[in-house]
């Protein structure tokens, strides 16, 4: 019988009152960081390892007519090449299973991977990748989500490019507008943002003699990536071991599976460890970005500054695949009315496929986009009833027991108090206006 002894439970909680709080405490890995000894994805090496390099589409939308691997297979140092046909279950996604591990019939954005080469050296992998002959038949592409919503737009997946429609309703928004003394309508747009973590996506797969695989990868969600990798490889979960390396910046950009199944397949096929590091160009073209939003706000307000009704329409450009787009839009929609008490609310969020880069998770998960819009809009609404924007916010701020348009009741709401303290610290004054 084996006795497993557990280490004593951490004593951090007891130490906290007299220990860490109020003191500068170095990060647990600070000494490793300042001496350059943190092991990131690109720092992983294994004896006899091969280097992988992806073959990527130069087209935003095209049918793949033919893939000829022969010239690349005879290129020096090449040990294996995989395409979508080598992926046992070539489809994945969190909410929408719409994304292939490697494109098979068609590519839907510039930089989408079609094949992956493994060779003895990085240089040989690069040279061989350039010799993979893919014959594309370009298809009409769409880059503007408004155009993509039209019935005559080129379609990416099914009969509509609207991948998701999120609706939130509270009260009767038209009745609210009817009672309003002023109605303010504005449109806001935000652009793409690349996470640009300094460390590119990088990792190493090491095969076991029994056909199991260990993958080291610079990821923020190792368990999700391990699960997705096992799924697409049709392997049982316990045979795919994923170890997160140090992450040289993520910001949401390393929140999903990317190359893990590629290097796993190549390692299992060649029985050699396989390493990959994305180039900066690949980071910009082929990994996720922050979704650009187009947001239309319409708000009805009484002359005394009481908010009555708000209608919001959000159009999110999700790019070629949904990835985190639906969850991001859901969060954005929940927050879209802002932290204000409004009796009549109507929110419509549309997630729209385009041939743009795939949108994913990024710091704030959709909320920075709507936050930018509703705070700009709040100033305009205050202006419409000639109120000081601070006084206007304090008047309408959600308080304890208040609720979001979804019905979620809020506790310990400190918005008004935080705003007052911030004004004090900033020594905010407005001549001739009470605040």
């Amino acid at each position: 019988m084996t006795t497993i002894t557990h280490p004593a439970p951490p004593t951090v909680i007891e130490e906290t009152p007299s220990g860490a709080v109020g003191r500068r405490v170095p990060r647990h890995d600070a000494l490793l960081q300042v001496t350059g000894r943190v092991v990131y994805g690109d720092d992983m090496h294994a004896a006899g390892m091969l280097w992988a390099r992806a073959v990527r589409s130069p087209h935003p939308h095209a049918r793949i007519a033919e893939v000829d691997l022969l010239p690349a297979l005879s290129s020096p140092g090449v040990r294996a090449i995989i395409t979508g046909r080598d992926v046992p279950r070539n489809r994945y996604g969190f909410t929408h299973q719409d994304q292939p591990v490697l494109a098979e019939d068609c590519v839907r954005h510039v930089g989408e991977a079609v094949a992956v080469v493994a060779a003895e050296t990085l240089r040989q992998a690069e040279e061989a990748a350039a010799r993979v002959m893919v014959r594309y038949e370009p298809l009409p592409a769409v880059f503007d989500p408004l155009e993509a919503m039209r019935t005559d737009a080129p379609r990416l997946h099914q009969d509509t490019n609207v991948a998701e429609h999120i609706r939130i309703r509270e009260g009767d928004v038209e009745a609210g507008f009817a009672q309003a003394d002023a109605i303010v309508e504005e449109e806001f747009t935000t652009g793409f943002v690349e996470h640009a973590h300094l460390e590119p996506h990088a990792g190493l797969a090491i095969p076991s003699p029994d056909g199991a695989i260990t993958i080291y990868s610079s990821v923020q969600r190792p368990f999700l990536v391990a699960g997705d990798t096992a799924k697409v490889l049709a392997m049982s979960q316990n045979r795919v071991r994923l170890i997160a390396t140090g992450v040289g910046g993520g910001f949401g950009g390393k929140n999903e599976m990317t190359f893990e199944p590629w290097i796993a397949l190549l390692a299992l096929r060649t029985r050699r460890p396989v390493k990959i590091v994305f180039t900066r160009e690949e980071e910009f073209q082929a990994t996720t970005v922050r979704h650009p939003y187009r947001m239309r706000y319409r708000t009805g307000v009484r002359a005394d500054g009481t908010l009555l009704a708000r209608a919001v329409e959000i159009i999110s450009d999700c790019g070629a695949y949904v990835s985190w787009g639906a969850s991001t839009l859901a969060k954005a929609s929940i927050h879209a009315a802002g932290p204000y008490a409004i009796p009549h609310v109507k929110i419509d969020g549309y997630l729209v496929y385009t041939n743009n880069p795939v949108g994913g998770a990024m710091r704030g998960f959709g909320v920075p986009q709507v936050g930018f819009a509703y705070e700009c809009h709040t100033d305009a609404v205050a202006e419409a009833v000639t109120m000081d924007p601070i006084a206007f916010r304090l008047r309408n701020a959600l308080r304890d027991g208040g609720h979001l348009p979804t019905g979620q009741v809020l506790e310990r709401v400190t918005l008004a108090e935080t705003l007052r303290q911030a004004l004090e610290m900033a020594e905010w004054r407005r001549e001739g206006r009470a605040s």
Partner: protein
């Protein structure tokens, strides 16, 4: 065509085979096994690969390894080790100047080069010295704070 290059690396003479078009960053990492120097872009934009070449900060991803022939190279590994940290390494730890840490080796090397030529830099001089080192996490405030603190510590030592 493989050739050979010899230079001083962190105070020790090294000789290694290199390809004519290999960068010093690649040779340090892949041939000499010094993984502290990071490659973030490969085009001299991010500064993560900064090393000292005869005391001057240089993007090692832009420098052909053969150009290091006969010169003195210092990497993060040569700046200071646990127990004998460079003041700027100590200050980065104390001021929480790093988050993910990937820009750290390049930033620390740039900061050390600044303090070697100017023991009392102004904040402007500090910002100028690290202008070629991108950090995507911190917003730079704590980094600048740490470098200024390290310069004050150095001043304290000199007056002792």
């Amino acid at each position: 065509m493989p050739s050979e290059v010899s230079f001083t690396l962190n105070g020790e003479r090294v000789t290694t085979a290199v390809e004519a078009d290999e960068s010093l960053a690649w040779v340090l990492r892949e041939r000499l096994g010094l993984l502290g120097t990071k490659i973030g872009c490969g085009t001299g934009d991010c500064g993560a690969c900064t090393i000292l070449l005869d005391g001057h900060p240089v993007c090692s991803c832009l420098l052909l390894a053969v150009k290091a022939q006969g010169r003195a190279v210092v990497t993060i590994e040569g700046l200071g080790a646990p127990g004998q940290l460079h003041p700027v390494q100590q200050a980065f730890m104390e001021h929480g100047a790093l988050q993910c840490g990937f820009c750290g080796p390049g930033l620390l090397v740039s900061a050390a080069a600044l303090l070697a030529r100017d023991a009392h830099p102004s904040e402007e001089a500090v910002r100028e010295a690290i202008a070629g080192n991108l950090c995507r996490c911190t917003g730079y405030a704590k980094i600048v704070e740490a470098i200024l603190a390290a310069s004050k510590d150095a001043v304290g030592e000199q007056s002792r």
